[in-house]
Amino acid sequence: MNPSSLPDFDLHAYADGQLAPERMAAVEATLAKEPALSARVAEIRSQNAALRDALDPLLAEPLPARLLAAAAPPVAGSGTARRWLMPAFAAAATLVLGIGIGWYGRGTVLEDAGTPTTFARQAALTHALYAADARRPVEVWANEEKSLATWLTRRLGHPMYVPDLNGLGFSLVGGRLVAGNEKPTGLYMYENADKQRLTLQIRKDTKHIGAPASGNVDTAFRYAVENGVGVFYWIDNDCGYALSGNLDRGQLLTIARVVYGQLAAADAAVPARSN
């Protein structure tokens, strides 16, 4: 391909930044002597940059529900499936156990005194309270989505991202801070064309992060029905999430997966390239 003394391999490796250090001096000396080769290197680099500029935006596309479902362990043989990638799982599992014990333990104690405190039950009650509110279901409306996220981020002390459920027919109504819990809880409300409402509640609970690892705890969506409100709830990193609505279990699960996927993607924060 090139008439010079520089092998193709070196030319491309140099342009791609993967030339072995010991070849560097020789290649740079050749390039200095042959402007045509330097020009070719520059061309390759600008082609690379243009390809990235063109194709990087694909990484930010919302993940479809069917792929998120496919990213969950298949039902058959889930015993071994769960053990796959166990190192990556360990941290999350620890939290499930820790927060699980925290919540459920506290729930039992307080329930004896007649106060509903399990996360799912609280979420369902909060959902019923605000979803039925025609005038003021949220404190901050969707038109101020950005300041909503900033405000909740500050109040909860955790980066808050607002999932986009438009692809599933639910648009953001707005959000609020739910008072009255031991830990502040952020709430986002969504609504579809039939005026059905969904709420996503997020609570940070860092109390039990130091819990010992058990290695045998499921990382999973949990489902509960409280007073006719379906709730999917789960733990991820140091937050508890609850998605509530009067939808059937399958619909709610699909949405829960999309929410989970978007939050995971936001967490992974697809690296933005500077070149």
């Binding site: 500029d53 479809p64 496919a70 993607a265």
Partner: protein, 183 residues
């Protein structure tokens, strides 16, 4: 506490955007790309014991996807032998949207459009080297080909793409445009 539904695996979710992009470059079509990713995830769960803990999960998933794609193409060719469907069909369906500001957009659209005219095996190597910035030896291992083949595909892909983009072809877009499709 019983599991009501398994959570999507966080490491797989994190790999999804890149898998989808790779699939998009292989197939040139959003729906077929997601079909391929879905088949790839199913295959990955089936074959999960073959993944070596501690190695790059993305690279392993890319290998799985590459193989799933190759197998599907081989099956399609066998099925299509009687119907006389050839590879021409692939390039014609190629469509990847470009989001960029107005200044860059035309140029990048042209680049991506022309990328679709490269043979699939060159397109694949170009994506992995130029966009994913993988090392040549990783690409060779991933595609199970010698490193020399990686280099010749990469070199040919770059030269051809440069030539195609440089071609004065004002009518190209009109000719390529199928009825009812607006950009």
């Amino acid at each position: 506490m019983s599991a009501d539904a398994a959570l999507p695996h966080p490491d797989l979710v994190a790999a999804l955007p890149r898998l989808r992009r790779y699939a998009r470059v292989l197939t040139g079509d959003a729906t077929r790309a997601d079909d391929l990713v879905q088949d790839t995830l199913a295959r990955a769960w089936e074959k999960r014991r073959l993944w070596q803990a501690g190695t790059d999960l993305r690279a392993w998933l890319f290998t799985v996807m590459h193989n799933v794609h190759i197998n599907q193409l081989a099956l399609a060719r066998r099925d299509a032998a009687n119907v006389s469907l050839d590879d021409e069909g692939e390039g014609a369906a190629w469509q990847i949207p470009v989001r960029a500001n107005q200044l860059e957009r035309v140029e990048l659209m042209e680049l991506v459009q022309q990328m679709g005219r490269l043979p699939a095996e060159q397109r694949e190597v170009l994506l992995l080297a130029a966009v994913e910035e993988m090392r040549y030896e990783e690409i060779a291992a991933l595609l199970e080909i010698p490193i020399g083949t990686v280099m010749s595909r990469l070199s040919r892909a770059r030269d051809k793409l440069k030539r195609l983009v440089g071609e004065p072809a004002p009518q190209l877009k009109v000719v390529k445009m199928s009825p009812g499709v607006s950009s």
